[in-house]
Each structure stands twice: as C-alpha cells, then as structure tokens.
Symmetry: C2
Subunit: 646 residues, 2 copies
Amino acid sequence: MIDVAIIKQRLFRLRELMEHQGLDALIVNRGDEHLSEYLPPFKERLAFISGFTGSAGTVVILRNHDLSELGKKQLVIEKEDHLVTVKNSAAIFVDGRYTLQARNQVGADLFDVFQYNKVSLQEWIQTVLDEGVVGIDPKCISYHSFSKLKTDLQNLNISLVNTANNLIDELWTDKGNEEIASVEIFEDKYNGCPSLEKRRQIAKILREKQIDATLISKSESVNWLLNVRGRDIPNLPVVNSFLVLYSSEQVEWYIDPRKVPNSLLSSLQHHIGKIDYYSEDKLAELPRRLGKQGSVLYVDPATTNAWFIKLLEENNVQLVFGDDLCDMPKACKNPIEIAGMKKCHIRDAVAMCRFLAWLDHLTEPLFSQDKHADLDAKHLPALEFIRTHNEATLSEQLLKFRSEQEGFIEPSFDTISALGPNASIIHYNHVNLGNPRPLGLDGMYLVDSGGQYYDGTTDITRTIMVGPNVNNEMKERFTLVLKGVIAMHRIRFPKNTYGVMLDVLARAPLWQVGLNYEHGTGHGVGHCLNVHEGPQAISQRGGQVPLVEGMVTSIEPGYYKDNEYGIRLENLTVIEQARNQNSGANMCAFVPITFVPFDTRLIKKELLTENEKNWLNEYHFKVRELVKEHLSDFEISWLLRATSAI
Amino acid sequence: MIDVAIIKQRLFRLRELMEHQGLDALIVNRGDEHLSEYLPPFKERLAFISGFTGSAGTVVILRNHDLSELGKKQLVIEKEDHLVTVKNSAAIFVDGRYTLQARNQVGADLFDVFQYNKVSLQEWIQTVLDEGVVGIDPKCISYHSFSKLKTDLQNLNISLVNTANNLIDELWTDKGNEEIASVEIFEDKYNGCPSLEKRRQIAKILREKQIDATLISKSESVNWLLNVRGRDIPNLPVVNSFLVLYSSEQVEWYIDPRKVPNSLLSSLQHHIGKIDYYSEDKLAELPRRLGKQGSVLYVDPATTNAWFIKLLEENNVQLVFGDDLCDMPKACKNPIEIAGMKKCHIRDAVAMCRFLAWLDHLTEPLFSQDKHADLDAKHLPALEFIRTHNEATLSEQLLKFRSEQEGFIEPSFDTISALGPNASIIHYNHVNLGNPRPLGLDGMYLVDSGGQYYDGTTDITRTIMVGPNVNNEMKERFTLVLKGVIAMHRIRFPKNTYGVMLDVLARAPLWQVGLNYEHGTGHGVGHCLNVHEGPQAISQRGGQVPLVEGMVTSIEPGYYKDNEYGIRLENLTVIEQARNQNSGANMCAFVPITFVPFDTRLIKKELLTENEKNWLNEYHFKVRELVKEHLSDFEISWLLRATSAI
C-alpha cells in the first residue's frame, strides 16, 4: 500500500503541473491507450496518483487543494433524500465492488470516495466548479466516454481539454526499465483456426459493408486475430499493439519492434502469413494516409481512445462506428478452443480439489472439538498451527497446486481469498485491504481464482466450510445461492436469447426472501485471454447480446452480508445445443466445464427440490469421474466424501 | 370481408393517382395522425385498400401493377437459407399475430404477405425497384419511423416523399357522415387526481428541463391529462385531439369544436380549469408561433407524426425528443384508479363466471357420453343444439353478461373467441377469418376478452374444456402454461426491475421441453383507456422500462400448435409492495386483480409442485370469496366445483 504522505507529495507536484497548464481540474482514468482492464505495472497511473489499485476507477483532482479558496458557501451535493458533503479537493469514483477498497487505500484527507452510480463525477465537479477548464489525457479514455463527458461538462460551463502530455507520466520519473517480452506464437493446436482464415472472415464483413479497413485497438482482439500471445500484462497473456485490417485482407501491425526480434520474423511469417510491421509510434501517421486515400475506416468508439479517433476526424477519414468486429467470433469458441477449455478445466479442477482436500485436512481439528465448548488443551497446538495460515498462505497454496498443472501460465486474475467477514467485500483482495485474516476464526471461506493455460482460461469460486461457526442463516443463504446456480445449469433456452433475460433465474431464490446480490450473474471468458470477455453477459443492465453456441460464460450468483460473511458459487459453462431428449432441436443450455464439488456441508437439503438434488448428485458424480484418476489416495478419499450423494 | 374484386378496382384507381403524382410506389400505414392502435372506422385506410383489418400492418403498392414490366430478370429475395419470390405488385407486412389473418383477407393475386421481421419492406422494395420515388402520407407515420424508413430507402437509391394529400382519402369518397360525439367529463370519483395537479407535475418537469412546452399527440395521454373521455374510437373511450402544455401550466387544446358544444364549456371549465380551445386545424399554425418565440418544445418522436415534426423543424422550433411525459404517471395508477380497477375486475369476473357456468352447462351432454363410442340417439338432439352455438354466439353471450354489469361501456378489444384449431391463431377473429366454427367439434375453447368500465379496463383469457377430445399432450401443455402464470404471480422482485428480465419466468416451463410462444408475456393496461398501454412490458425485446408500484400489467403466457389447438391464460395484475412476511421491504409482486377460475379439468396435477398447487388453491379460494355473492344458485354450484382444491 502506498503511503498517504507520498500520495500527498505527488498531488502537490501534480497541482503545480496543472497550474502551469492552466487547468482547474484534472481527470485521471485507469485505462492506458488500449483501454485494458489489466495494465502493465508501469501504466498503473491511477494507483500512482491515488493509491487505489482496483481494476476500474476515475479520479478528479482540483488544482486548488484548499476547498475554502473556491469561494463557495456550501459544498453540498443534493440527492433525492439526502445531502452529500464535498470534503476534499480530489475525489475518486469507483463501482460498488470497490468502494471499501478505495476507502481503505486512498487517504481520507485527500480524496472523497464515491460509488459512481450514487454520486457522479459530473455532480461532484458541478458542486466545486461554476465554470473552468478540466484536463484529461485523451489517450487514456475511449472516444465514447470522452464524447459523453465533454457534453456533460459543457452543460456545466466547463470545457474538457486535452493535456499536452500525460501529467502523471511527467511526475512518475522513477518507473525503472520496462521489461520487454517477445511476442509468442499461439500454436495451431490451441487456436483452432488459422489467423488467415479469421482475417478473411472479417475482411469479408468489411467488403460487405463497403468499408476499406478496420482499426483494432483492443489487445485481446489483436492477439486473437493474429494467433499470438505475449507477456506485457499480468493475468492477461497478450502483447499490446494496434492492428489495421484492410478489406483486401492486408494487415498492418503497429507494435514495439523490440517485441518482434528478427529471429522471430520467419516463424511468425510461417504462422500468420505475410503482414506489414510498423513501429507503434507510426500509428500517428496512419490518419493522414487514410485521409488522403479517402478511406472509410471502421472503429469501435468504446475500445478506441479519443486521441486517435480525433486524429482520424481531423484528417477527414470517413468513420463507421460499431462494436469491435473480433468480439463475436472471439466469443464463439471453435471446437478446438472448446476442447482446450474443457481439458484445462479438468487440470484446474485437480488443482482445486487438491487444495480443498488440503484445506479440509488442515481445518479438521476445528471440527473435532465441540463447537460450544471452549478450546480444550488437546487441540490448542493444532489450532495455533491453523492460525499460522491466513488468506495469503491459502492463496499461495492454491497457486502452488495450479502451478503444478501442465500448461499453466499464471493466475487469470488476483485471487480473492477471503475469510469470514472479508468475503462480504465482493472484490476483496488480501494484499490491498489490511492484513490477511488468519484461518481458524471463521466458519466460511470464499475463494475466487483462476488460471491462464495455453489451452484455455479458468475462473472458479467456491465457498467452503472452514470452521464450526456456521449458523442456520448462512446455510440457508448458501443453499439459496446454490439453487440459483442449479437453475442456470438446468434452464433450456432458445438460441439468441439475451443474457439480460436469464439473469433472474439465478436471483429468484434470493428475491423470494427479500435478498439480492449487487453484481452480474455471468460474464464471458476468453480462451487463453481475458477472463472477463464480452460481448455477452448475464446481468440486469448488460447482456443485451444474444447468447449463441460456443460462448463460454460464468455463472456466479452470490449473497453478501456486510461485515459478517459472503457466499459466491461460480462455474464456467459453454453454451451448447441442449442434449436433453425432451428438448426441441433449437434449445441451448449452459453446460458446465468447471468440475469441483460444492460444499455439501453448507447445504440445507430441505430447501432443495428433488430435481435440484438430482442435478447436484449427477454433477458431483461427474466431478468424481473426471478428477479422481489424477489424485492421491488421500485426496481420493476426500473426493469421495465431498461428492457423495445428498 | 371486402371482396377482392373491389380491392382490385381500388388499387387500379390508386395507381392512376400514383402515376399522376410521379410515384413509383406508395406506402400505406395503418395509423392516423394520432398513430393510435385503435382507429375511428372512417380512418381504416389500410383495410380500405387491402382488405386487412388487423391492428397493425403496412402496405406497399407499386405503380406498375405488372411485375414483368419492371424489366428485372429475377424477383427473388435472398435470405440466409432460402429464397423468397416476389409474386405481386403490392405487399403487406404484418407481425406474427397477423400473418394468417392477412393471408385470409387480402387477395393472393394482389398482395404478397410477409411477417415483417422475416421479410422486410425494405428488402421487398430493394428487389422490385433499383431506384425511384416512394410516397407516403407523413401524417400517418411517426417521425421516428419516417426518419428510419427514409434513411433505409436512401441507401437503396430511393427517395421517400410526402404525398400531396392522403391518396386513399382521395379514392374513398363514400365514407358517409362521421359521427361526432361530445367530450365526456371523466369524473373525480374515477380519476383520482385533478387534471390541474397532473398538469402541474408535468409542467414542473418542463421547467426543470428548461423546456417551454410539450406537444402531446397520443389521445390516451391527452384524455388522461385532462380527465376527459370520448367515443371517437371503438374499444378505446377517448376523444381524439392534440394538446400543448406550457411550462407555465397554460394549456392549448386542439380539438374539433363540434366535440365541445357550448353547453359543455362551463362544466368543463369547472372540471379541468381554464384552458385555451383551438380548432384542430389550427395546429398547423402552432409551429410558426413557437418558432417566432424561440420556444423549446418537447415532443415524443415515436408518437408524433412526421408531418408535424417536420413543420416544427421548418419553423426552427428547438426540439427536445423524449418519451411522452404522460407515459409514466399514466402507467403508475393512483390509489383511486387501482381501487376502480379492482372493483370493475370483480364485476367483470362475475360476467366471466356466469359465461363459463353457462358454457359448461351447454357442453355437459358432450361429456356425459362415452367419448370412444359414436354418438348415441339419446344425445343427438342435445348435440345438434350445441352445434347451433359457435364462436360468434359464444362471444355474443359473453358480451351480454358483461353488458349487464354496472358501468360497462364497451368491449376493450375485439373478443377472441376461438374453438379448437382456431385458437392456434394468436389474434384470431371469428369475424375476419371465415365462418365462425361451431361448438361441439373440439376439446378446447380459448376466449380472450375485456371490457371498458368507467372505473377501469379489463383483459382476461381463459382456455376451457368444451368437449371430451382433449388428449394428454394438451393437458400437459396447458399445465406448463399455467406453471408460467403461477411463476409470475409468485415471483418477488426489487422495485425498478425491468420487464425484460422477468419474461423468462413465464417461458421456462415450456422452454424446458423445447416449446415457446411467439408473443410477449405481458403488457400494460390503461385505466378506462387503452387495454394495451406502455411504457412497461414483460417481453423479450420490449420491457426496457423499470417496473414500479401501481403499474397494471397483464400476465399471459400461451402455447400454440398450428392447426391443432391454442392455449393462453391471462390475468391482469397490479404491482404492489410484496406482503409476504419473508420478503424484505423493497420487494414487489404482481398481485392479481383478475379473479376467474382456471379450468382444473385441463391440469395434470403431477406436473405441479406443492407450492404451485397451494398458490392455485388459494387463488381459487379468493375467486370464490369475491364472486360468489353475485351469482345465482346454479352459478354458485358451478363456482364451487370450478374452484375446488386440487
């Protein structure tokens, strides 16, 4: 965690730079020029200036660090039924997952912290400024967001201007040397479709739309399209770069030349065919060339930065806006990708089962004592040993088991290893939120983790009983969450159903008793790519995209009781034609590819219907079948217990 | 049904007019200048020119009635997996509800008939015309649809132009005298909120948005806002007119002066306060006045016709587009409106129960014979009597029972009275589709009907056993549809949930066995207004509006087996805070206001869960409680049987 005093110094120097550029305020987004969810460490500018390390957030900093100098009587935001006071000369806006983490990480005397859909950046700015100039680095915001923000601020008599450079980079002079990793060829046995064929299909769409070329800014799309990977970013095995695909199928790849050493060129050409390589900094010259040629360019305004699209507009390039053309073909996995996803999920399940067997064995002494009695002398040494384990060591142990699996590259995101009340923080991170909590105090443990493998990407959450302090309410709500999981696995739905329509099935058991969870039910998952991949989603606001066969989607309902406990259960599934013989030919289903037991000790059986119990028992039977042969005798005896029919 | 020869003549004369105006084609929408779903008879232009009498559809007519003269080799529309041949020099585009009716009503040698989302008007025009001029009456299409159509046609090198007059009206010279009905005051005991108060609330929104005025084109909105009603349209008790509400709360009402006789003026003023009356034809002068004043006008481009918005644009009136500001307050019924809805639904239930008791008594002889034996002599006279009854006489009998109820004005839509295979036509109408089918042949009867009452509007569908020819499959599917109804009644959901999210609950039981229905699950219902009212909906594509307390919504899943049978079960419900003691404070529920038995003879009990059976038994108990006291002894004994617990 970055010391508040250091952040204070940085803010002081930043305000000098803002003064110099005549800015009344500066907005800092988390994105880099690729607008990725995951960033290289040297682009973590939001963390540098605020201390907040979450994966999404926006900071606004006033030049005037002293609010009283604004000459305003009252710094209060009026909401429908309450008032919000502005307390600091900077504010951070995050989503509901991150409010606690942000409060914990940023200095309370430096930043106001808001959930962006409760108090917006616009409302905050409107309260502190009557007019003025707000700066932003247009490379770090999508054209789409930039345009909306500009209009919103204009309505408040505030102009949004581009900063000359990135002001954070001007301060941040001690980044050290950026590590340069080479592009990696993503082999045919994994990708399932030659790059040439992928490019052919997209070029065909361009020709049909009478468009000359498309710019692809999103690294996942470029890596998918070229069948390459890289190591530029933790958790996301991609190389950052830009790509232009012409309707003629010609490709221009804008990439740091250090990442494509000469030694790699011939094997790359063999792998992806002949394409043109440009240094990334040559991208700035593209708009002029396209403008001169009178080209029509297709760009995604939500994934392309504002700087580049404005450059295109200035050069009179005719633009067609639309979703990244790689999105849908990338989301609909081909048979080789699906086979890979299934295989790596079995290896991942082996690692998870080993971990759970190890954990159960570790916590056994907690269960053998009478839970109402005080600790007796016999168990004290075991208990002390248990408490040497904590959220961090559990996470490390799980990583160790994963690392032993063939083809494992790295975790697909920071593991959420949360004991007791910490699990109520939806995106808890033991590294970023105080000290890791020791094992032995709580009844339940939530672990949400995943791996990047060459043949796929995994993401799994289980909530486990790790101590006797589990009450009836916890079991009841665990069972309601499980009912949601089962409902999603059992539903049959017509092809092209929208994700937004199915979300309710996971929530209904909780809704019936007045409960809910404040996150989506499912997100798409990449293939050895981003563990959060669009365009499909199963959620209340997103999910306006049809679900089709081959999409890999998480199913992860939960329940969170603030400061007490949290429950989440997550499987990945692939959408397949439904095999159930009762089903008509056009029905689809979420077929699980995650095969790890749900903790039956937390189930209140009387809340499950016969159909639900049957589903669970069949699922557990399949877990046993798939995982057993890879386990030790000790682990097998755990597995047999964990998967026995209820 | 209009004779095809007459339509042929009309088309011939229309083509002469088109020739005269230099049009290559003419588009005729069903709407009038208010774009209503329901029309006065003398505005049924689509029916006049095509013979099609459904409530939604568009016709396009080529000037050239001989396709071979178009000089095209092939008149074929290429679809993904098949070809569609253009056969006629005119086409009609309807939604899935109306394809059968359209095929039945329009001459097969005059019109191609298409479901608009399978073959679009644009595709058809593109196939027959390489370029050209297509005319439309801009008063009969919304600005929204007009703009989209114009762009679509422009991309096909076709210009969409306004016809000088409505060409159909030029042909249609024998309309006879339009009946002029006076405005009716909609009394305070029914409306629950004074017009002044409604206007105050909307004027407040205008002031907050810094808008000077709003034009309201939708008759339902004008009638709701002024607390008036009228008899301009069958099934929809409104007076057609336009209204402008200023942010100062001043009102200009553009209405045919014959509908506001002098004798009414003082009581009107007493009822709605002082407003300015203008003759409807003065509306054309409004844009110039607003333009001169530099006014900002709020209009709904989806409910305001293209002619008027273009006039506003020509006069440089600054326009703000958005949904009709009456939509949400009209949809969220006030306590008096809800009380009225509940009361008229009990009277409506009495009429329905009388009808069902009468019908069951009528069909008794069909059940008393052995269903496998041939008709025996004893039953023949009874059977012959039964067959004198048909879809038309049943519908008339039901209307008779409704008419006896206090406050009944008229049916809220054309009754769907469908026996056997006719029920598989979702919007079947025995008047428009051949001869009414006689009772006695089929096992099931579907009746979808409703009434306009001064205190509310009803809409109910029941599917009834009317003969022994009901097989296992029918019962199974009836039960699946009923499960969907029960799921919607049992769900608890947070306030502001979107309708699109809940739709699946009604479909899931059918989806599980590969079945579905091709219509929405629920629509809003007006209060002594349109039986189909927005903005809320429970459906797969619509329903992007949050559900809030006070909204009245239908729940009407179904199942339709082409040419065999159809099942639909429909209750109206009001969204209320959930009373269930398990529910948290913020949960809502669909609370039924329709209280008529579901036919338990068609239920396969083993497909219902205990919870579902309990819900049904409790519902039937409530039906008995509410309806019993209004029935005769004979009807009561029917009710006791129909509502006995399963």
